[in-house]
């Protein structure tokens, strides 16, 4: 579904990604792990089209994306939940959800899809008309995920969704990722919480200093204490 090869990206003069290659097949949960500053966020941003300068190849459902702007990548079925959640101030929960649909081909079914998402996220259903930024961090993260899911993307990329969220909600969230996978959504997940992430992932890539240094099945990596110690924080 997604083939990234020889991907390079820069912040000004600093060469943040060096020849990253990775692959995600339909229906998989693939995890990117690595220390702070390893380049995980930059990889997702490059795939979404948010890096000013990027070279290499990003092929999604058979199409080369690298020259395409972010909104075209969205239209092709790619969704991205950034690290900082980016819940829009001044908008209600419902309006944030509608924002997930304004540019989508499912726009006409707005009411129906919002009802559908409200069933999956009961916490949001109770707070539909509340201003979204007044919710707790965990609820805002749920909203960010719901907003990305509502347009039914084929591949959803999540950047550290469990960061700063209370454990009950994290469990709820990972349960959700499992059921997303069961329903055919492909997931590319960046996580600091390595044990937890590998628990639901099929495969994982380990990044360090802007390059892929290791790849393995989630099971193999879970057992590999040496790699985990060398390349992962905690």
């Amino acid at each position: 579904m997604l083939q990234v090869s020889q991907l390079n990206a820069w912040y000004g003069a600093s060469h943040a990604l060096q020849d990253i290659s990775l692959e995600v097949t339909r229906g998989e949960i693939v995890c990117l792990i690595g220390r702070n500053g390893a380049g995980k966020t930059t990889t997702l941003k490059s795939i979404m089209g948010l890096m000013g300068r990027a070279r290499g190849s990003v092929i999604f459902k058979g199409e080369e994306l690298l020259r395409q702007p972010a909104h075209v990548r969205f239209a092709l079925g790619l969704a991205y939940v950034p690290e900082e959640r980016r819940i829009v101030q001044g908008l209600s929960v419902r309006e944030n959800l509608r924002l997930g649909l304004v540019a989508s081909k499912h726009k006409k079914r707005e009411a129906e899809l919002i009802d559908e998402i409200a069933v999956i996220f009961p916490r949001l259903a109770e707070r539909m008309d509340q201003e979204a930024v007044t919710m707790s961090g965990g609820e805002q993260q749920m909203l960010a995920i719901a907003r990305a899911m509502i347009a039914k993307p084929d591949l959803i990329m999540l950047d550290e969704p469990s960061e700063g969220i209370m454990p009950v909600l994290v469990d709820e969230m990972f349960e959700l990722f499992r059921s997303m996978k069961a329903q055919g959504t492909t997931v590319l997940l960046v996580e600091q919480n390595v044990e937890l992430a590998l628990g639901i992932a099929d495969r994982a890539y380990v990044l360090d200093q802007g390059a892929v240094v290791h790849q393995a099945s989630a099971q193999a990596l879970l057992a590999d204490d040496e790699i985990k110690e060398r390349y992962c924080s905690v």
Binding site: A75, V88, V102
Partner: protein, 294 residues
Amino acid sequence: MAGLSFDLIALQLFAGLALGAIYVLFAIGLSLIFGMLTVVNFAHGAFYMVGAYVGLYLISIGGNFWICLVAVPIVIGLFGLAVERVLIRPLYGRGIDYPLLLTFGLSYVMVECVRIAFGKTGYPFDTPEVLQGAVDIGVGYFPLYRLFVIGATAVVLLALWLFLEKTSYGLIIRAGARDPQIVRVLGVDVSRVWLIVFGIGTAIAGFAGLLAAPLQGVIPEMGGTILAEAFVVTVVGGMGSIGGAVLAGLLVGVVVSMTSLFAPEMAKVSIFALMAIVLIVRPQGFFGRAGLMS
């Protein structure tokens, strides 16, 4: 004496609201464009001025004021779209000063073109016949045309409010003003939204210029004066805030109108004094977000 001065004050207050209505229309466009594109549109006054001249021209070739009310915002809006697309768009991402300098230069070019086409001296602009005269508003007779200006402004504000609050395009604009990147990630072609916002802002400026024309006539420099005053309005109301622009526009109109009643020599200075006071008490203006410019 007491009765007379109360009525006089009340009438002057209404006159201030009519003046303020023009400021409001001018400033919401300025604010909308700044809030969305972070472009300080120094050519906003020139769009306003050209709006008045397009009205003048349409009437000279046989059109009437009502046709102008529809045609002027369309013409100026289309002109605004072209300016954004061709001149401003290449400058995004280069810092706030590039579009500022460009629009500053553009305003000079526009004023000069109008001078070449219509001459350096101004023209009177007739009040449409049905709007001439005055009506009794309880405290005295008030010019009908000024009431019309207040009413027309209210209609534009209502339409803009409905557009922003009730349509999905409005939702995109409200969200995009806060966080363009997330809107892009959610599939919106943000550059097209910016284009449309610039078009709407300039269309409203052209409309304001047309409304102001019967009150003060048209001259090529009319945009420069209101631009300076409208900056006061946006600073007082809070950069990028539409609600702030409305409140501050009316306030500035009333302050100018009142000081010209009680201390005419202070009228021009009064709004800058108002700005200074507001900035001391609340540096971000009534509804502004702190740090927007940084």
